[in-house]
Symmetry: C2
């Protein structure tokens, strides 16, 4: 579903060839599409069908992808591989990678502003939520704090704040956008926001655990890189067992909040376990 | 006016300190604010006051500034100075510069989506125009074609296409957004689009001329860099006199289109000469 939807936004567009190739290279690099799935599941808690959220889901995946392309750059994490494939700047070059990221970010706003299935009021709300979640109030702030924490001893609270911004904001957007477009009540939105918060952190805790216990082949990247880079992680601050305990605790809190929302949350409920037990 | 407006969008925002500093460093680097001025003048052709266009003008300047920060990066033009000041990645570092650019781009959409003086329909139209002008259909495409043209002999038509995208799209946005918010008619918008096209190219022709004849102190950068970098320019393709002739021709075409719009275009008319005769 997502692949077809993604391609729809590139088929008839006259982008420079190398730019289109670079954008699609990373979009099609076999990500897990967790954010679009989450957005669809959140909408599905209130409505049937998926038409109404497809463009927002694609835009969200574009923003996630741009952030990975820029994160991988030599001046940032300097990664050569992601998901078992060469990173964008290795497959193309640095200048193209910077521009492909810029283009994906900009295009994500363009496709929402032109979504034929949303009213102007809906577009504006989605654009407000997405820009806030991904910009200097959200994901980019997380990226800065993450860089500042390198080679430093930070507290659990600081670590959680980094992840709440760097990963949690887009996870939160997925859940809130789905619920908003599904006409959830204010009350329901409040509970889903809490659910999204715990889910986002839980996702990151599992990421840190996989960097210790994961299977390199399944992950498509080498494990142990956090330790090599002397990064602050949950296992480092809490021990491996402590991290696993925290993950369970957050999974339970997420489930609790989800129940309070009183909607058709079966799929979202399953996603908590899926996020918590994923092996890649 | 612009300085106060710009600062308004940073005063009470909780961005990470270094990110805010880096964003403001380049925003306040003493640019000519030509795009905001143009937007205001275009609005002024139809309405009095400027309140309604201030946020769009700030957003436009943010996008222009992000594009300069990313252009200056080592992987792109590798410039150490701009407007007589260190470029963003030299004053901070490469990672911060990449993120400051990303943040400015994203924040520009956020402030428009939250502009209290625009209706949802107006916000959506402005966001459609701005994202299209600055993304893979517009400015980023121009950047790619510009890179591809390096060290190559290109035709006058190709050169014009590069500038129409790289510079012209944002100039076009300034004019169209101002006229749209000023309630110009379809007919008037059509003439103003033509005006903006000639103005954008004219601006670039003068840029190329200044790289040969300009005063380094006034420009805040060294002249002759186009020749050093073996760049395709108007003077290179047409000779210096040919470039000056073309500039005059485009200035006349711009004036012609402006007259056809039949609005209070005195300031816009003056801007044609200002763009064409500027010394920095």
């Amino acid at each position: 579903m997502m692949e077809k939807e993604l391609n729809k936004h590139f088929k008839h567009e006259h982008f420079p060839k190398v730019l289109k190739d670079a954008m699609l290279y990373s979009l099609e690099a076999g990500g897990k599409r967790l954010r679009p799935v989450l957005l669809a599941a959140s909408y599905g808690a209130f409505q049937t069908g998926t038409d109404k959220i497809l463009t927002s889901a694609v835009a969200l995946e574009m923003i996630h992808t741009y952030s990975l392309i820029h994160d991988d750059l030599p001046a940032m994490d300097n990664d050569d591989y992601r998901r078992g494939k060469l990173t964008n700047h290795k497959a193309f070059n640095e200048a193209i990678a910077i521009l492909a990221g810029d283009a994906l970010l900009t295009y994500s706003f363009e496709i929402i502003a032109n979504d034929p299935l949303l009213s102007s009021d809906e577009k504006v709300t989605i654009l407000q939520m997405l820009s806030r979640a991904s910009g200097p109030h959200g994901m980019v702030a997380g990226q800065i704090y993450d860089m500042e924490a390198e080679d430093k001893a930070i507290s659990l609270e600081q670590l959680e704040n980094i992840h709440a911004l760097k990963t949690g904001e887009l996870v939160g957007f997925a859940v809130k956008a789905g619920a908003f477009l599904g006409n959830a009540s204010e009350e329901q939105l409040k509970h889903l926001e809490k659910f999204a918060y715990y889910l986002g952190i839980l996702f990151q805790v599992q990421d840190d655990i996989l960097d210790i216990e994961g299977d390199e082949e399944k992950l498509g990247k080498s494990v142990g890189s956090d330790i090599d880079q002397n990064k602050s992680t949950y296992p480092k601050l809490l021990g491996l067992n402590g991290a696993k305990k925290l993950k369970l605790e957050y999974a339970n809190k997420a489930k609790e909040s989800l129940k309070m929302a009183q909607a058709n949350t079966d799929i979202l409920m399953n996603l908590i376990d899926h996020f918590s037990q994923r092996d890649h």
